[in-house]
C-alpha cells in the first residue's frame, strides 16, 4: 500500500502543497477578475462629448453634465433593459422605430418561457459597439477601424446624401453583408436560418433607436453647455430636439438617391479588349481629374497611397473641434479618462485588393462615389445636374468601371 510507504508519506505533502497552491491561484484569479465587473447594465453617459464641449470657456464639470443629460434622456427613452418611446413628446405621429423589435433586442440575452429570444443586441453587437451604442464595447481597442459610435447619428454606407440619415435598407445591407477586412461580421447566416430570420430587421430598429437616443443626448448636452438651457424634462427647447432628431430619421427613406440604370458594359465580361482599354482610359481620366480628386487619397495607381491624410468625424469631434491636436499624445490623452481612444488616421481604400467596405456591387460603388462616405474624408463627387458642373451619369459609370477593374491588376 502506498499509504504505508515511508517515501510516499514524504511525497504526499509535496502534492498537497502544489495542489493547494493551484487552488489558491485559481481562486485568486477568478475573484480578482470577476470582482472587477458589474453585471448590471446601464447606459454610459456621453462624458467625451461633454468634455469636448466644456474644454474651452466653460466652468461646467463634464461628467456632471453628461450624467444629468443621460438621466433626462432615460426618462424619455427608458433604461437599457426597459426601453420606451417618448410618445408624450412626439404625440404618436412620428414612429421612427418599431418598439416591438427594440424590446426584443434590449435587455440581457436569453429566451423567455415563451421561447422568444431577447437581448439580440447584447448577443451580437455589444462586445464592439457597447451597451449604449457608443462604439466603446469591450473589444473596441483591438479593432481597426474602431467600432461605430451610433450616437452621432452618422452612418458611412448609405443611399442618402451627406447630412441625411440612412434608410433601414442601408443598415440592413451592412448587417447582412458585413464589412470585409474588418471585425464587422456578416449576419447573413441569421437571416438564412428559420429561427433567427427576424434578427437583422430587429437589430436595424435597435440601431436606429440607439442612434436617435444618442443624438438627442448629444444635442441636449450641447444646448446646455453652449446656450445654458436647463436640463429639465419639461423644457420645450429640449423636447423640440427630440422631435427634430426623430423627424430626420422618419424622413430618411424620402431622401434616398436613386442609382440610374447601369450601362451594359458594367455587367458584361470583357469581350472586346479595345473597348475595355477605352473605358479604362476614360475612367482613369476621371479618376485623375481635379473634379473628382480621387488620387489625392487613393493615389495615382489606386493603391490607397495618396498624399492626403485625415481623421474621421468621430475623432475630429473631440479633438480638432475641441481644440486638441490628435497628432500629439500629450494633447489627446487628456480626453482618455472620458473614453477617448487613440486617434487613428483613416485609410483610403486600396482598390487593387477588390475589398470595398461599402459593398462590391456596381450600384454600391456608384453610391459611394456620388454620395461620398459620411463621417470620413471621402467627399461626394459632383454630379452634372441642372447645369451644375460635374460628371455625367455615363462618366460616373466609367469611373465605377475603372475602379472595379483596378482589382484585376493585382
Amino acid at each position: 500500500m502506498i499509504r504505508s510507504d515511508l517515501g510516499n508519506r514524504q511525497l504526499l505533502p509535496a502534492y498537497h502543497n502544489s495542489v493547494g497552491w493551484l487552488v489558491m491561484l485559481f481562486a485568486l484569479c477568478t475573484c480578482a477578475f470577476t470582482g472587477c465587473g458589474n453585471s448590471k447594465a446601464t447606459y454610459k453617459p456621453n462624458d467625451l462629448h461633454a468634455a469636448s464641449l466644456t474644454r474651452e470657456g466653460s466652468d461646467l464639470e463634464p461628467r456632471g453634465v453628461a450624467k444629468a443629460a443621460s438621466a433626462l434622456v432615460e426618462q424619455w427613452f427608458g433604461s437599457l433593459d426597459a426601453p420606451r418611446w417618448p410618445s408624450e413628446i412626439l404625440g404618436g405621429e412620428l414612429e421612427a422605430v418599431r418598439m416591438d423589435s427594440v424590446n426584443r433586442c434590449a435587455g440581457p440575452v436569453g429566451r423567455g418561457v415563451d421561447k422568444v429570444e431577447r437581448g439580440v443586441y447584447r448577443k451580437h453587437c455589444v462586445s464592439c459597439h457597447g451597451l449604449s451604442g457608443d462604439g466603446l464595447g469591450a473589444a473596441a481597442m483591438l479593432l481597426e477601424p474602431y467600432p461605430r459610435d451610433f450616437r452621432r447619428g452618422t452612418f458611412k454606407f448609405k443611399s442618402t446624401p451627406i447630412g441625411k440619415k440612412p434608410t433601414r435598407e442601408d443598415i440592413h445591407r451592412t448587417l447582412y453583408e458585413g464589412i470585409p477586412g474588418t471585425a464587422m461580421p456578416s449576419f447573413r447566416a441569421l437571416e438564412e436560418s428559420k429561427e433567427f430570420a427576424d434578427d437583422i430587421d430587429d437589430l436595424v430598429e435597435y440601431v436606429r433607436f440607439l442612434a436617435i437616443r444618442g443624438e438627442v443626448e448629444r444635442r441636449i448636452i450641447a444646448l446646455h453647455v453652449r446656450e445654458g438651457v436647463a436640463l429639465d424634462e419639461t423644457s420645450e427647447q429640449l423636447r423640440e430636439v427630440v422631435r427634430q432628431v426623430v423627424e430626420k430619421w422618419s424622413s430618411a427613406s424620402s431622401d434616398q438617391v436613386t442609382v440610374p440604370e447601369s450601362p451594359e458594359f458594367i455587367h458584361s465580361p470583357i469581350k472586346n479588349p479595345q473597348e475595355h482599354s477605352e473605358l479604362m482610359q476614360k475612367g482613369k481620366s476621371h479618376f485623375e481629374s481635379e473634379l473628382t480628386a480621387c488620387v489625392k487619397c487613393h493615389g495615382t495607381s489606386g493603391a490607397g497611397d495618396g498624399t492626403s491624410q485625415d481623421y474621421d468625424e468621430w475623432t475630429k469631434d473631440w479633438t480638432i473641434l475641441a481644440g486638441i491636436d490628435p497628432k500629439h499624445p500629450s494633447d489627446w490623452k487628456e480626453m482618455k479618462p472620458f473614453g477617448a481612444l487613440k486617434p487613428v488616421l483613416t485609410k483610403p481604400r486600396n482598390f487593387h485588393w477588390g475589398a470595398y467596405h461599402g459593398g462590391k456591387s456596381p450600384s454600391e460603388i456608384f453610391k459611394r462615389i456620388v454620395l461620398g462616405i459620411e463621417g470620413t474624408p471621402m467627399p461626394p463627387v459632383a454630379r452634372a445636374q441642372n447645369g451644375n458642373p460635374g460628371l455625367t451619369d455615363q462618366e460616373l459609370w466609367e469611373l465605377v468601371y475603372y475602379v472595379m477593374h483596378l482589382e484585376d491588376r493585382s
Binding site: M1, I2, R3, D5, G7, N8, Q10, L11, A14, S18, L22, F26, C29, T30, F33, T34, G37, N38, S39, K40, A41, T42, P108, V109, G110, R111, G112, K115, E117, R122, K123, H124, S127, G137, A138, A139, A140, M141, L143, E144, E177, G178, I179, P180, G181, T182, A183, P185, S186, F187, R188, A189, L190, E195, F196, K347, H352, W353, G354, A355
Partner: protein
C-alpha cells in the same frame, strides 16, 4: 496498489468519465460561443419538463441555442452518472483509499459544476457562467488525473534518476495553463459593460501567458531529451503530445482572433482584405470553441506529465537503494 482483478472497472469508468467530459466541455464552449446560456430559462427542468423527458423533436429540431444548451445539460447528467459508476467501482474494487476518496471528490466537483451551471441560469448571472466555464476544464483535468492514476504506467512506473527540474516545470506548466484558461474565460465571458481598457489588459495578459506556456512546453520538450531524462521511458509521450497541442492551440488562437476581431494586418493581403467574418458561422464557431477546448486538453496533458514525472518520483523514493542514487538532499526531504 491497484487491485489485480481480471477486468479493471475502475479504469474503465475513470477513462470513460474523462473522455465524456471533453465533449461536455466542447458543447459548453459552443453554448458560450453562441451566447446560449439562457436559451433554457429554467433549471433543473427544461421549459417546465423534467430534464430527461423534454420532447426529443422539440429539442433536436428547435432553435440551435436550445439544442446545445439542453444537450449540454443532458451530457452533464451522463457524465455525472459515469462518475457515480466510477465511485461504485472504486468502492468495490479499489484498494487505494486516497483514490476512492479522490473519486468521491470528482463526484463532488461534477455536482458543484452542475449547481454552478444551474445558478447561472436561475440568477441569470454571467459572472457565474465565467466561473462555471473555468471549473469545467479543471474538472476535466481532475478526471484525467484519476484516469492516469488507474493506468498501467502508474502501476509499473520505475525511475533511476531524480527529476526535480522536470517536476517543477510540470507544475509550472499546469499553473500557467490554468491561469491562461481563467484569462481566456474572462475574454469569452466579458460582461457587456466591460471597459475597453480592462479588456485590452486581459488580452495582453492572455498573450503573455501564451508566451509563457509556449516557453515552458518547449522547455519540457527539450528537457526530456537531455541527460539524465533521455534514458527515462514514458516521459517523451506527454512532452510530444504537449508540443503537438501547443502548435494546434497557437494556430487556433490566431484563427480565433481573426474571426472575432479581424487581423490587424488585414490590409496587407488581398485574401485577408476581402475576408468577411460570418457571425455565428459554423466554422467560425467551431474554431473559437476548439481554441477553448484545446486549452482544456492542455490542462489534461499537463496533468498527464505531472502523473508521469510524479509517479517516477514516488517510485524512486520507494526504492530501498534510493539513497545511493544521485538525489539532491533537499529534494529527498521534500519527497
Amino acid at each position: 496498489m491497484i487491485s489485480d482483478v481480471k477486468f479493471n472497472f475502475v479504469k474503465l469508468w475513470a477513462w470513460l468519465a474523462a473522455m465524456f467530459i471533453f465533449p461536455l466541455i466542447w458543447v459548453g464552449g459552443l453554448v458560450t460561443t453562441h451566447d446560449a446560456g439562457m436559451a433554457v430559462p429554467d433549471w433543473p427542468g427544461t421549459y417546465g419538463y423534467n430534464l430527461f423527458l423534454y420532447p426529443l423533436s422539440t429539442w433536436l429540431y428547435g432553435p440551435f441555442d436550445l439544442l446545445i444548451e439542453h444537450g449540454h445539460r443532458l451530457l452533464g447528467s451522463w457524465v455525472g452518472l459515469l462518475v457515480i459508476f466510477l465511485c461504485i467501482a472504486a468502492w468495490k474494487s479499489e484498494t487505494r483509499t486516497w483514490y476512492r476518496r479522490a473519486c468521491l471528490g470528482l463526484l463532488g466537483a461534477v455536482i458543484a459544476q452542475g449547481l454552478l451551471g444551474g445558478f447561472r441560469v436561475v440568477l441569470d448571472e454571467r459572472t457565474i457562467a465565467m466561473i462555471h466555464g473555468c471549473g469545467g476544464p479543471l474538472v476535466f483535468g481532475y478526471a484525467s488525473f484519476l484516469a492516469f492514476a488507474s493506468s498501467r504506467d502508474w502501476k509499473h512506473a520505475n525511475a533511476s534518476i531524480h527529476s526535480k527540474g522536470l517536476w517543477r516545470l510540470a507544475w509550472i506548466l499546469l499553473a500557467a495553463t490554468i491561469t491562461q484558461l481563467v484569462l481566456g474565460a474572462q475574454l469569452r465571458h466579458a460582461l457587456p459593460g466591460t471597459s475597453p481598457v480592462g479588456f485590452m489588459s486581459m488580452v495582453h495578459l492572455h498573450l503573455t501567458f501564451a508566451g509563457i506556456v509556449t516557453l515552458v512546453i518547449l522547455g519540457v520538450y527539450f528537457l526530456v531529451r537531455t541527460y539524465p531524462y533521455a534514458s527515462e521511458p514514458g516521459l517523451r509521450a506527454p512532452a510530444n503530445a504537449l508540443v503537438g497541442l501547443l502548435i494546434l492551440q497557437l494556430t487556433l488562437g490566431i484563427g480565433t482572433w481573426m474571426v472575432n476581431y479581424a487581423l490587424p494586418w488585414s490590409e496587407t493581403m488581398p485574401s485577408l482584405a476581402r475576408y468577411v467574418i460570418s457571425a455565428k458561422g459554423y466554422w467560425e464557431s467551431m474554431l473559437v470553441t476548439a481554441h477553448q477546448a484545446t486549452g482544456s486538453l492542455l490542462i489534461a496533458f499537463s496533468t498527464w506529465l505531472i502523473c508521469r514525472v510524479g509517479r517516477r518520483q514516488i517510485a524512486l523514493a520507494r526504492k530501498p537503494d534510493s539513497r545511493n542514487i544521485q538525489v539532491q538532499p533537499s529534494a529527498a526531504v521534500k519527497l
